[in-house]
Symmetry: C2
Subunit: 342 residues, 2 copies
């Protein structure tokens, strides 16, 4: 394979400016004193030659890639977009590039010497929910490689910093609202995917709220909604066909809430008059939905931003913050039966 035509290198700049390559490197990285006059000459040369340092060479020599990675199972709308935006913004502000990779149905691809993201090509990685298997986390930890978990807590005995939100509290408040303000007692819950922590904690919050109001859990009011519009739609339709008709449905997340509303309306039921529906996340579609969805606001973008902040701290060798729990907030709209707030 023929060598590509070589682009301008640091040696060219050095020659042009009449200095050594070391000096050029120093003015670029600003990590050693260089006289103002020399620096100016060098900068002029860089400008003139349109020089751009090779990331590979720089990375090889300095052992820093200036890249962080994001590993996720799936880039699924609409939850992923805001978190990605937060991460991208954080990375940009920290002067880091962002490498993203989905593990979507390719667990095997994540091993062997073709592993997509790791110490060989990034300075640290962010793992969103199930984006990486536990054993891989163990391995990276043994290398002291910086990793931050998003919407997931670390495996036992591994102290990997995690950033997530107050799912349990948010769910509890939400269900409490349903009980105390609206007097609903038969409140159904649609679970999210198995093993998904957000789902787990939301269910705990749901249970706590019911327990606090002395309402027993009715097993037939618990079903699988998968944090997915279609699945939730089917689950709700199945309920209706079986004659199960709750006062209210806590759909687990907004996507499932959307499917829930569609199923209810398709069956001729009115929301919230016949059945109230609430979601979780407050993603983009919650507001324009008809009726506007009562939900719990999750600071999704902030999770991404905080994740990067934590990762940057780890990369710099700082002390990790074991857990960052971002607050959630009840957002009352109309699907619970309230009139829209002012």
């Amino acid at each position: 394979m023929p060598r590509a035509k070589s682009s301008v290198t640091i040696a060219d700049v050095a020659r042009e400016a009449g200095v050594s390559t070391a000096t050029v490197s120093r003015v670029i990285n600003e990590n050693a004193p260089v006289s103002a006059a020399t620096a100016m000459r060098v900068r002029a040369a860089i400008e003139r030659l349109n020089y751009r340092p090779s990331a590979a060479a720089r990375g090889l020599a300095s052992r820093r890639t200036h890249l962080i990675g994001l590993l996720a199972e799936e880039i699924s709308a609409p939850f992923f977009a805001p978190i990605l935006r937060g991460i991208e913004k954080g990375a940009r502000e920290a002067g880091l590039g962002l490498l993203i990779h989905c593990t979507q149905g390719t667990p095997a691809a994540n091993s062997g010497y073709r592993r997509p993201l790791g110490p060989h090509n990034t300075d640290g990685i962010l793992v969103f929910a199930g984006g990486l298997q536990e054993e891989e986390l163990v391995y990276l930890t043994s290398l002291e490689f910086p990793v931050v978990l998003l919407h997931r807590s670390p495996p036992d005995s591994l102290d990997i910093p995690a950033v997530t939100v107050e799912n349990k509290r948010g769910a509890r408040e939400l269900v409490r609202h349903l009980i105390e303000v609206h007097g609903y007692r038969r409140i159904a819950f649609l679970r999210g995917p198995e093993g998904h922590e957000d789902s787990y904690w939301r269910e705990q919050g749901y249970r706590e709220a019911l327990a606090a109001a002395d309402i027993p859990i009715e097993p037939q009011l618990l079903a699988y909604g998968g944090f997915d519009q279609k699945i939730a739609q089917q689950a709700v339709t199945a309920w209706l066909e079986q004659g199960v008709k709750p006062d209210a449905i806590f759909a687990g997340d907004d996507e499932a809430a959307t499917g829930t509303i569609m199923a209810l309306q398709a069956a001729g039921l009115r929301v919230p008059e016949d059945v109230a529906v609430v979601g979780f996340d407050d993603v983009y579609l919650a507001h324009p939905l008809m009726p506007p969805l009562t939900t719990v606001h999750v600071p999704i973008e902030a999770v991404g931003r905080e994740g990067v902040r934590e990762l940057v701290r780890l990369i710099a060798g700082g002390e990790p913050e074991p857990l960052t729990l971002l607050p959630t907030e009840l957002v009352i709209r109309r699907s619970c039966g309230c009139q829209e707030e002012a």
Copy 2:
């Protein structure tokens, strides 16, 4: 700065397997014959040492980063998610990493030697809409650096491959449906952002459809919707306050359609009985909207996939396909006045 503790290198593998580093490199890259027995020994050594080649060293030596970049103005939901998914999937299948960067309000950051994405750190880039200024495109072209444009056509006299969709045809069919099936004559249009090509071509399609039906353009039925829910909402509210009441509103995109529906309903008007509304894109929220939105389906994910395919071809030195126009398709739901299709 102390050198980080060195990880296992190709030399370690070579020693472990009793071969030269060249041989190890050859079994990894499979680009030269290696005897089966040797290859096996090398692979075992790699496995045993948990060796992972350094991307930087590899890139420096081979002048290939195995990375492609994506440059966009903003990671805005909900249009961005599917295109990103298509790109990520395409990149993954091609064995390339994906580096993403937003230029969001930082045009200056895109010059100087800190430029985020370019020949110094990627093998080629994808530019989404206004993600990169024209002069930068000119520069990259002069370097023969692989670039593919998404939802944007190349500047004059630059033959950069572009991938986009049949906006004009889609808009024309959509408006024709409004005219021919429903008999609407006063059809308003909400433009997208200035300079946005999708917006431009959709307006052309709108104009052509009206012209074909001999309906004159009424300037007061054209307004700025910004491909944005809030802006569209305000624009429609303004119309209503001025007593402008069209038969139907073509909102430019689904986001604007959402805002349009919200504004109309807030004013006590029924959709589609009083005013019909149609969008464009068929993004995630179009279906669950109430009423379900009649729109034009845009194969967003396919744009991303095709973009990567084209970029990979360019990187491999293949002949570029100047323009890839992906088909759009009318999706009839209820907001136009139709009963939902079967």
